[in-house]
Symmetry: D2
Subunit: 82 residues, 4 copies
């Protein structure tokens, strides 16, 4: 009966191991998926910030050009009133 | 006959004086008219430049506000990437 | 004595005519001067408005470019959030 | 000897189960960590886009105000030249 008892324990352990390994596979798949999503999210965020940086530089240019236009107008009025 | 000659000269002078005085009145009227136009033109020009000066100040304000917006965007991107 | 009286009147008329003619010359000179000033003022005003028109067109361009930049930013944010 | 063999197999299974469970705990911890990072990243991204949206609205306002200023200038020049 000792052998029969050991066999029962062994079967139970085998079943528990299989469940734990299935859970493992599942967790690893979830991890891979999350890592992929995080990487995509970072790539998108990087690309987004790069585009934003371009727009910021364009905005810098527009503000500079508006300031030049403003200076031209101020100079024109100075000449006209003198 | 001396008297008759003098009378003729006097009549001619009187006529010439009248013509010259008419021309004078005409010139004075033209002068007044031109002075009025010049004054109006200067008043309009003054008012125009005053309005332009207001627009220049408004433009200054808009450029300043665009620069603040630009700085906010730059700061936002700095915070986000850090 | 009639001749002497006429002579006096003639002298007075001659003097008055000379004065009126001097005044005429003076008025014509003032007119010419004013006409010149008015013409210069109109030339300057024309040139000033021409420069202003150029600045207005530049301003139009800058506003259009800022609107394009704004649309790029809006489009970028739409893509990012979708 | 059957019992001894079974005991050996049971010990081996127990050890393997422990290792798999340790790996499970480790994977669950990694998952939690990644989920936390992804959530933070999304919160930051959400907050970033909210700030960007505010800036976009400010930019809209500035462009509108520049357009009004442009119209005032155009109107002023029209009045002046008429």
């Amino acid at each position: 009966e000792k052998a029969s008892q050991l066999q029962t324990q062994k079967d139970s352990l085998t079943q528990k191991l299989q469940e734990t390994e299935r859970r493992n596979v599942e967790l690893e798949s979830q991890l891979l998926d999350l890592e992929q999503r995080l990487e995509n999210s970072e790539l998108e965020s990087h690309s987004f910030r790069k585009s934003l940086r371009s727009l910021l530089q364009l905005l810098d240019g527009k503000i500079f050009e508006l300031s030049e236009l403003r200076d031209s107008l101020a100079k024109l009025m100075e000449e006209d009133s003198s």
